[in-house]
Symmetry: C2
Subunit: 148 residues, 2 copies
């Protein structure tokens, strides 16, 4: 199941379950809610965002939910300067073994929102002789379309 197709699926709950199952994760209320929230929001979220949204769950549970999604390859961590970890949905092509995120992360300096610009390919990067590139993370900040 491709994550980007989820909103066209009639039965959202069934779709969420399929996603969790396909990543070998048990189906729980917390995971269903968090996954649905990520799909709705489309932007990146921090643990703090989840704590505000889902007060019915313990913050440790949310912490472990994020971690299990990270390990499963459903989410990826987005580097930033603030010190607070933010997470974004992985591309459909990601598997637990092979994460590929050569898209751009955009942070709006006005509204603070972080988005994954999936349609913009990150350019290729050259590193000095002797260095081996594994992953490329591109973070652009500025003003997003909504705030201009």
């Amino acid at each position: 199941m491709q994550l980007s197709c989820i909103n066209y699926v009639c039965n959202m709950s069934e779709a969420l379950k399929t996603i969790l199952k396909s990543h070998n994760l048990r189906i729980t209320d917390c995971r269903m809610d968090v996954l649905r929230y990520f799909l709705d929001k489309k932007g990146a979220l921090s643990q703090g965002n989840l704590e505000n949204r889902f007060t019915q769950y313990d913050r440790v549970t949310l912490y472990r939910t994020l971690n299990s999604f990270l390990e499963a390859g459903i989410l990826h961590k987005i580097p930033n300067e603030s010190g607070t970890a933010t997470y974004g949905l992985c591309h459909d092509t990601c598997t637990p073994e092979y994460h590929l995120h050569n898209h751009i992360h955009f942070k709006c300096n006005n509204c603070g929102q972080i988005e994954c610009l999936d349609d913009e390919e990150a350019p290729s990067v050259s590193v000095p002789k002797g260095y081996v590139t594994e992953r490329v993370n591109l973070i652009v900040d500025g003003v997003c379309a909504k705030c201009v």
Copy 2:
């Protein structure tokens, strides 16, 4: 005074003082030691690194030293996934008003060292219509030349 020339200067202490003065910072032991350490190490450092190295200074003092260097434009913050802020020396061309860091930050997944690859220009990045780019941060991870 160009920071990259510092190691060719005969009198290191005088050079450090000149750098601090030119950024309108008072000359103190802590600032001298921290600045010298950054110049020696060449790589990026976290507050924790400084706390381990300079046990004679209070951690709040080191925290404020890093902040004053940030504001002065001597250091820049490097975004990363770990949640711990890391700092690198600014290019010679940086001023407090105008920071430009379109070089690559490289994090070695083996030794954990973060470096600024000043010689590698970051490629230009295109963002979707309606978005305005202010800064570009490029973080590459992999294996550095020493660890290959």
